[in-house]
C-alpha cells in the first residue's frame, strides 16, 4: 500500500520536477562515514557551494545530488557534532566517499529562538540553553522532556511520571501559566488551562531535533505568557532525517514496592520519513508509553486548610479527629460537631444538655474519612502520541508544511487539586509556508479533557453518595458522646465514633466502591459530580518577514504579527459558557532591528511587541539587547527584557461552585451584571464592614535586566556560560474572598451569605535576582564533563504576601559522559548528578517544606553498527532515593530500563 502510494507521489513529483529539469545536469552520488569509527553518518547536509542546491545523506549515509553546475564542483558537508568538510569533485561519475571528523570544539551550535533568526549560540543576545538530538541520545533520561530539568537554572515540578512542568527564574508550579512552550512554532498550551501539558502532547522522542530554552522574560518575541521562560521544541525535518527508526524501552519502577508494587515501564516509539527527490517529504511518528505512575503518598496532616494557609502538621487519622491527609481525599469535608450537631442532641435529650455544656465552647472539628490517592486515581499512566507532516518544496526556496500531532492518555496533574486526566485528548494541526525571508503559519489546538476528574471533589462526593454528611455526622456525634459517657477517653471516643459512622463504608476496590466512584466521576462538577468537561480550542495565525535584504545597510529588520482566538467550551461546567462558547480574541505585532557596529564587535538589537486582548488594554513590551565581542568566541551580553501575561482563560471566565458556599469566578466584567455586583455591592470577607472595590483587572508583568558571558576557552575545549539577572514583577494575580448580602444594603453575614472567590491584582512589587554558571569541558576527544550551578532568590517580599516563588536558592548539575570508547568505540556512557537545595513550596493545593533533593542518573550504551542499532541500559534516580519536588506531588523513585534503538540519529 505504502509502495503504491509512493509510486503515485513520485510520478506526480516527476511531472513537476521534469518541467524544471530541462537544463543539462549531472548527478553526484556518494557516502559519508564517521572518521573515528567508520559508522555511516545519516542526515548530513550536502550542498553545492555557492548555490541553493543541496540534499542530505539517507539512513545508510548515501546521498545523491543533481546539479546543473559543471565540474569542478565544491561540495560542503556539514552535520552537528562534526567539523564541516569541503570536497572538490572533478569527476562526477565516481562516487564521492568522505569521512567526517567528530568535532572537538564546543559552542559551534546555531540557535534560532533567541532572535528568531539563526545565529551562533556564542553570539546569542540573551541566555539560551540548547539540547540537540545527540544530547537526547546520550542522556540517561527516560523521556527527552526530562532533560530540560537538568539545564542551568531550571526547576522541574513533577506532578506525575508524564506530567512535568519546567520553569526558570522561580515561580515553579505544576501547570505553569507563566511559561510558554512552542512545538514547531505552535503554542502547545491546553486552551482551557492556559499552560502546556508538557510532553503528553507534542513530539515523539524520535522526532525531536532540538529544544531551545529561553530562561526568563521572553514576551517581546513570543507574545504573552513567557514571563518565566519559553521552551521551543523543533522536530526533525523529513527531508533531512529519513528512513525507519524505532526505539523500545522496557523498564521497571517502584522496585522496592515502598509506595506501590513493582511495575513495568514501557515506551515504544517509531518514526518513518521519506525524502522524495528533495521535492517532497513526509514523516509519520508514533509513541506509546505505559507505566504505573509514581504515587503521591504524603500522608501528613494538612493543618489549617480553611485558613487558606495550611501547613503539614502533626497528627494522623488515629490521633486527630479533623485529620486531613495531604494525599488523602475526601477528608477535606469537616464540620464542628460541637456547634453543628450537639445543639440538636441537647434539644432532643434535655437531660444531656448540661453535660454537653461541660465539653466547652471550643469547636470539635471532625473530618470525614478519606481515601488514599491509590484508591481514587487510576495508577495506569498511558500516553499515546501520533504525529505526521507533509513537506513540499514549491520552489527550492519555498517549502509548504502540513503537520499534525495528536495525543491521548491518562496522567495526573496538580493544580488547585490533584486532577486525574483520563482519556485526555489534544490535537494540533498546522499549515505553514516557509521561505528564506518569511513564513506564514496557521494552526489550531483542539482539546478534550475526556473523563478527567478532580480527586478531592470526587472523593468528597463519593462519601456523600455513600452516606450523606447529614447522616454521618449525627451518627458520629452521638457515638462520640455515648463513648464519653461510657468513660472512654476523648481520642478513643472519636475513633469509636468514626468506626461506627464508617461501619459499612465501601472498601476501596469493592464492587460498591467502584459503582459509586464511577457514578460520581461521570457527573459534571457543575451538576454535583467530579467530572470536568473541557473542550476548548485555540486558533492561531501568524506571519513574519525579514526585511534585511532591503534594510541591511542600516539594520537587519524583522517584522511579524499574529492573531489568536480562544474558544472556551465547557458546556457550562467550568466556564460561564452555558449559553454558548466564549471567544477571546488577541492580536499582536512585533518588530526587531539589529545593527552590528565597530566591525561586528558590538551587536545591538531592539525589539518591541504590541498585543491587544479584547478584554484588556493593549500592552507594549520592549526588549533591548547588546552583544559585545571582547575576543574571538568570547561575548558579553546585556539585555533588558519585559514580559507579561494576560489573565488565564480560567482567571477570566471560570464560574464554578467549589463548596462551602463559595463560587469561584473569573475577573471578566460580565460577572458584574450576572451576579449583580453593580447593584448589590459585595463586601470583603476579612472585614465585612468594608465594601469590596473592583479594580481594573490587569495582566501580570515583569521587567528583567540581565548580563551574561559566553565564551570558548582552552582551544575550544571549555565552554563557559554565566549570567546574572534582576527582575521586578508586578500586578501578580491572586484571589480574594468577598461576600454578598441577601438584599442590597442588608447586614453582612459571612456565614450564610453567598461568597465569591474573585481574582485580583496584587499591587505590591516583588523582586527577584539570581545567577547561573555553567562549564562544558571536552577532556579528551569523547569525554565531556558538564557542570552548572544556578541560584534564584526572591527579595523584599511584603509581609503576609504569598508569592509562590517555589525555587531553591541553589541547584547544581554535573554530567560526565563519553560518546565512544572500547573496541571500535562502541561503548558509551553518561552519569548525571543533580542536587537542589531545600526550599519552602507554596501551592494552591498544599504548602510545605521541600527537602534537598539529590538524584543520580546513568546510562551505558553499546552500538551495533552492523545493524545501525544501540542497546542502552539506563536508570533515573538510580539510588532509588524517593523525593517529591512540590508538596502533594508524586514521590519519584528509581526507574531502570533497557532500550533498543534502531537507526536513531
Amino acid at each position: 500500500m505504502r509502495k503504491h502510494n509512493s509510486y503515485l507521489l513520485m510520478m506526480l513529483l516527476a511531472l513537476v520536477t521534469s518541467i524544471a529539469a530541462t537544463a543539462q545536469t549531472v548527478t553526484i552520488t556518494g557516502n559519508v562515514k564517521n572518521s573515528s569509527n567508520s559508522d555511516v553518518v545519516p542526515a548530513v547536509s550536502v550542498t553545492v557551494k555557492g548555490s541553493s542546491t543541496g540534499t542530505f545523506t539517507d539512513d545508510k549515509g548515501n546521498f545523491s545530488l543533481t546539479t546543473s553546475q559543471k565540474p569542478p564542483i565544491t561540495l560542503v558537508f556539514s552535520s552537528i557534532g562534526f567539523d564541516p568538510l569541503e570536497v572538490v569533485v572533478n569527476n562526477t561519475s565516481e562516487p564521492v566517499n568522505v569521512e567526517l571528523q567528530p568535532s572537538s570544539t564546543l559552542g559551534t551550535e546555531v540557535v534560532v529562538s533567541a532572535s528568531r533568526v539563526p545565529e551562533k549560540i556564542l553570539e546569542s543576545p540573551v541566555s539560551i540553553e540548547r539540547v540537540n538530538a545527540s544530547a537526547i541520545r546520550v542522556s540517561p533520561a527516560a523521556s527527552y522532556y526530562d532533560i530540560v530539568g537538568s539545564l542551568k537554572g531550571v526547576d522541574m515540578v513533577t506532578s506525575s511520571l508524564t506530567f512535568k512542568t519546567p520553569t526558570t527564574r522561580g515561580f515553579a508550579g505544576s501547570g505553569n501559566t507563566r511559561f510558554n512552550q512552542l512545538v514547531d512554532g505552535m503554542d502547545n498550551q491546553a486552551p482551557g488551562l492556559n499552560f502546556s501539558v508538557g510532553a503528553i502532547i507534542g513530539l515523539s522522542e524520535l522526532d525531536v531535533d532540538n529544544m531551545e530554552l529561553l530562561p526568563g522574560a521572553s514576551s517581546a518575541l513570543y507574545g504573552p505568557g513567557g514571563m518565566n521562560g519559553t521552551l521551543l521544541v523543533s522536530s526533525k525535518n523529513p527531508f533531512r532525517y529519513t528512513g525507519l527508526s524505532f526505539q523500545t524501552k522496557m523498564g521497571v519502577m517502584n522496585t522496592d514496592s515502598r509506595y506501590r508494587g513493582t511495575s513495568g515501564y514501557h515506551n515504544w516509539a517509531v518514526r518513518w520519513a521519506e525524502n522524495i527527490k528533495d521535492k517532497f517529504a513526509y514523516k509519520i511518528n508514533a509513541e506509546f508509553v505505559h507505566a504505573k505512575d509514581w504515587l503521591a503518598a504524603d500522608r501528613r496532616n494538612f493543618v489549617g486548610r480553611q485558613s487558606g494557609r495550611g501547613l503539614p502538621g502533626k497528627g494522623t487519622r488515629e490521633t486527630d479527629p479533623n485529620f486531613d491527609g495531604i494525599n488523602i481525599y475526601g477528608d477535606e469535608t469537616t464540620i464542628d460537631i460541637a456547634s453543628a450537631v450537639f445543639p440538636a442532641v441537647a434539644q432532643a435529650a434535655l437531660f444531656l444538655a448540661p453535660y454537653i455544656s461541660t465539653l466547652g465552647n471550643d469547636p470539635i472539628n471532625v473530618s470525614r474519612t478519606g481515601y488514599d490517592e491509590a484508591d481514587i486515581i487510576d495508577p495506569n499512566t498511558l500516553n499515546f502520541k501520533l504525529g505526521g507532516a507533509l513537506h513540499y518544496k514549491i520552489t527550492p526556496g519555498l517549502e509548504a508544511v502540513l503537520a499534525g500531532s495528536w495525543g491521548t492518555g491518562n496522567s495526573v496533574y496538580t493544580g488547585s487539586d490533584r486532577y486525574s486526566f483520563r482519556d485526555f485528548k489534544m490535537g494540533q494541526y498546522k499549515l505553514e509556508l516557509n521561505a528564506k525571508n518569511w513564513f506564514v503559519r496557521a494552526y489550531t489546538t483542539q482539546e478534550n479533557a475526556g473523563q478527567s476528574y478532580n480527586a478531592t471533589v470526587t472523593a468528597r462526593l463519593l462519601n456523600e453518595a455513600w452516606k450523606p454528611s447529614t447522616t454521618w455526622y449525627p451518627e458520629y456525634a452521638q457515638t462520640y458522646l455515648a463513648n464519653l459517657l461510657a468513660g472512654q477517653d476523648n481520642q478513643t471516643a472519636h475513633n469509636n465514633a468514626r468506626a461506627f459512622a464508617d461501619r459499612d463504608r465501601p472498601a476501596p476496590g469493592s464492587k460498591q466502591f467502584k459503582e459509586l466512584f464511577d457514578r460520581v466521576r461521570s457527573i459534571p462538577i457543575s451538576a454535583g459530580g467530579g467530572l470536568f468537561i473541557e473542550k476548548s480550542d485555540l486558533y492561531f495565525a501568524e506571519g513574519q518577514y525579514n526585511l534585511s535584504d532591503f534594510t541591511g545597510k542600516v539594520a537587519d529588520v524583522l517584522i511579524g504579527g499574529n492573531w489568536r482566538q480562544y474558544v472556551l467550551n465547557s458546556e457550562g461546567t467550568l466556564f460561564a459558557d452555558s449559553a454558548g462558547t466564549i471567544k477571546i480574541n488577541e492580536v499582536g505585532a512585533y518588530i526587531q532591528a539589529t545593527r552590528r557596529l565597530f566591525n561586528d564587535v558590538l551587536k545591538l538589537t531592539f525589539a518591541g511587541r504590541y498585543d491587544k486582548n479584547e478584554n484588556f488594554e493593549g500592552r507594549f513590551t520592549p526588549r533591548a539587547t547588546a552583544v559585545v565581542t571582547v575576543a574571538k568566541n568570547n561575548n558579553i551580553r546585556v539585555s533588558y527584557q519585559t514580559a507579561y501575561r494576560f489573565p488565564s482563560t480560567q482567571q477570566q471566565y471560570i464560574d464554578l461552585s467549589v463548596g462551602g458556599g463559595v463560587q469561584l469566578i473569573g475577573g471578566n466584567k460580565s460577572f458584574q451584571n450576572y451576579y449583580g455586583f453593580n447593584t448589590n455591592r459585595p463586601y470583603t470577607l476579612t472585614n465585612p464592614a468594608q465594601q469590596h472595590v473592583f479594580k481594573t483587572f490587569k495582566p501580570e508583568s515583569v521587567q528583567s535586566y540581565e548580563i551574561g558571558y559566553k565564551g570558548l576557552l582552552g582551544n575550544g575545549r571549555l565552554l563557559v556560560d554565566a549570567y546574572g539577572y534582576y527582575g521586578q514583577y508586578k500586578n501578580f494575580i491572586a484571589r480574594t474572598l468577598i461576600g454578598q448580602t441577601a438584599t442590597p444594603g442588608g447586614t453582612p453575614n459571612p456565614v450564610t451569605d453567598p461568597k465569591f472567590s474573585v481574582p485580583v491584582n496584587i499591587e505590591d512589587k516583588v523582586k527577584t535576582y539570581g545567577f547561573g554558571l555553567g562549564f562544558d569541558y571536552r577532556i579528551v576527544r569523547a569525554w565531556t564533563l558538564s557542570m552548572n550551578l544556578s541560584s534564584d532568590r526572591l527579595d523584599e517580599v511584603p509581609t503576609g504576601y504569598i508569592a509562590f516563588f517555589n525555587s531553591p536558592k541553589y541547584r547544581y548539575n554535573a554530567t560526565l559522559s563519553n560518546t565512544g570508547f572500547g573496541t571500535d568505540k562502541r561503548l558509551g556512557f553518561s552519569v548525571s548528578y543533580r542536587w537542589q537545595d531545600a526550599f519552602f513550596y507554596e501551592g494552591d493545593f498544599a504548602n510545605g517544606e521541600i527537602a534537598a533533593i539529590h538524584t543520580l542518573d546513568a546510562q551505558v550504551s553499546y552500538k551495533l553498527p552492523k545493524y545501525k542499532s544501540v542497546v542502552k541500559l539506563g536508570g533515573n534516580n538510580i539510588l532509588n532515593q524517593y523525593y517529591f519536588n512540590a508538596v502533594g506531588n508524586s514521590f519519584v523513585g528509581g526507574l531502570y530500563y533497557v532500550s533498543f534503538g534502531y537507526n536513531i540519529y
Binding site: 504524603d298 500522608r299 501528613r300 496532616n301 503539614p312 502538621g313 502533626k314 497528627g315 494522623t316 490521633t319 486527630d320 442532641v345 435529650a349 434535655l350 437531660f351 444531656l352 444538655a353 448540661p354 453535660y355 461541660t358 465539653l359 452521638q478 457515638t479 458522646l481 455515648a482 464519653l484 459517657l485 461510657a486 468513660g487 472512654q488 477517653d489 476523648n490 481520642q491 478513643t492 560526565l816 570508547f821 572500547g822 573496541t823 552519569v831 548528578y833 542536587w835 517544606e849 527537602a851 534537598a852 533533593i853 539529590h854 538524584t855 543520580l856 539510588l879 532515593q881 524517593y882 523525593y883 517529591f884 514521590f891
Partner: protein, 354 residues
C-alpha cells in the same frame, strides 16, 4: 579486552566512589504523630488503691470490674467516693462487699461516677438548684446516651450530690477528680409512677391521679408523665392522711371513692399544684438541699397563677406552703429519688385557690 576491562573498571569504580560521596539520602518527611499530654500524677484508681480511707471502696471497685475505667490515665471522670466512714454510715462493710453480687456493686458504683472531670467550681451555684450530670449507670442497653443522672449542687462552700453532702472535694487525679460523699447515693430503681404505686400511704394520691387522667391520653395523663423516664419532676406527695383532711375540708368523705364526685378539673389543678415547673414544664429535680426560701412556680403556670412558698430556713427540715393553706406543710419523708424525679411526702394537700 581484559586490560580494557581493568582500565575502565578502575575509572568506573572511582567515579562511582566519588558520586556516592556526594549523594546523600533524600528525605521523605515522615508522618508526625501528636504527642498527647499524659497528665501526671496518680489515677483515681491508684488513689483509691493507696489511700487507707478507701479500703472498702477499693474492694468494691476490684469486685465491680470498673477498675480499668478508673485506672485509665487519659480519660476524664469524677468519682463521688465513699470513704470507709461513709461506707459505715451506709451499712456497708468489706464483708458485705464480699457477699454482694459484682453486678450490683458495679451498678451502685457506676452511679457514683460522672464521665467528665468536674471540680467543685464547675458546679454552678445558685440560682440553679443543681446541675444534671449523667452517671455511668446505663439503664437500657439500647440507649447509650441515656444514663441515670446525678445532681451535683453547690451552696456557697457546701457541696451536694443529690441530697448527699460532700465531705471533701477536689482531690485531683490524673484522670479527673474525687469528691468524698457523706453516704452512698442509692441509684433510682423506678419511675415516680412506680414509686408512688409501691407506697402504702399514697393510695389517695393514686386515686386522685386516676381521677385527673380520666379521658386523657398520652403525656397529658399525669400517670404517663410520671412514668416518662426523661424529665426531672419534683413532686410534693401528700400522704393519705393529708388527703383525708383535705377531702373533709372540701365537704367530701375521707375515702378514695370521693374523688369521683369532685370535678376532674379541680383534681387536676390540685395535682398540678404539687409539681414544680418552669413555664409549665417540669425542669428541675429539687432535692431538699436545693430548696431556697421563696415562691416557686408549679405546673399550674407562672404568675399570676398561684405559686408555692418554700421556707428553707432550716435546711434540714424545709417546709412548703400552698396559697390557701393557712400553715406550711411539713416534709415527712424527703428526697425519694426516682428515675425521672424526686418526691417529698408532705403532711398537707397544697391548695392553690378556693
Amino acid at each position: 579486552m581484559l586490560t580494557l576491562l581493568k582500565k575502565y573498571t578502575g575509572i568506573g569504580l572511582m567515579a562511582l566512589g566519588l558520586l556516592t560521596q556526594i549523594t546523600a539520602c533524600n528525605k521523605i518527611p515522615e508522618v508526625e504523630d501528636i504527642q498527647l499530654n499524659q497528665p501526671g500524677g496518680k489515677t483515681i484508681l491508684e488513689i483509691i488503691n493507696t489511700e487507707a480511707k478507701y479500703s472498702i471502696l477499693k474492694a468494691a471497685v476490684e469486685k465491680s470490674g470498673l477498675a480499668p475505667v478508673l485506672g485509665k490515665a487519659d480519660n476524664n471522670l469524677t468519682l463521688f467516693a465513699l470513704d470507709n466512714d461513709a461506707m459505715a454510715r451506709s451499712g456497708i462493710s468489706e464483708a458485705a462487699i464480699g457477699v454482694m453480687p459484682a453486678q450490683q456493686i458495679a451498678a451502685i458504683l457506676s452511679y457514683h461516677i460522672v464521665p467528665q472531670a468536674l471540680t467543685s467550681a464547675n458546679i454552678p451555684d445558685l440560682p440553679a438548684p443543681n446541675f444534671q450530670m449523667p452517671s455511668m449507670l446505663q439503664p437500657l442497653a439500647s440507649q447509650p446516651l441515656f444514663k441515670m443522672s446525678l445532681f451535683p449542687s453547690r451552696r456557697g462552700n457546701m457541696g451536694f450530690v443529690n441530697d448527699r453532702p460532700l465531705t471533701s472535694v477536689d482531690t485531683r487525679a490524673a484522670n479527673g477528680y474525687i469528691h468524698d460523699v457523706y453516704a452512698l447515693i442509692p441509684p433510682p430503681q423506678a419511675t415516680l409512677r412506680d414509686v408512688i404505686a409501691a407506697q402504702p400511704d399514697l393510695s389517695f394520691l393514686r386515686a386522685a391521679i386516676a381521677r385527673a387522667d380520666e379521658g386523657q391520653t398520652g403525656l397529658s395523663r399525669i400517670d404517663s408523665l410520671l412514668n416518662y423516664p426523661f424529665p426531672n419532676i419534683t413532686l410534693f406527695a401528700p400522704t393519705d392522711d393529708a388527703f383525708k383532711v383535705a377531702l373533709q375540708l372540701l365537704g367530701a368523705p375521707p375515702v378514695v371513692e370521693a374523688f369521683a364526685f369532685i370535678p376532674q378539673e379541680t383534681v387536676l389543678g390540685m395535682l398540678a399544684y404539687h409539681v414544680l415547673a418552669t413555664n409549665r414544664t417540669p425542669t428541675y429535680r429539687v432535692f431538699t438541699p436545693n430548696m431556697v426560701s421563696g415562691p416557686v412556680e408549679t405546673l399550674i403556670g407562672p404568675a399570676p397563677f398561684p405559686h408555692l412558698t418554700i421556707d428553707a430556713t432550716n435546711p434540714l427540715a424545709p417546709t412548703v406552703k400552698g396559697a390557701v393553706n393557712p400553715a406550711p406543710a411539713n416534709i415527712v419523708e424527703k428526697d425519694i429519688n426516682a428515675v425521672n424525679g424526686v418526691m417529698h411526702k408532705i403532711d398537707q394537700v397544697l391548695i392553690p385557690q378556693l
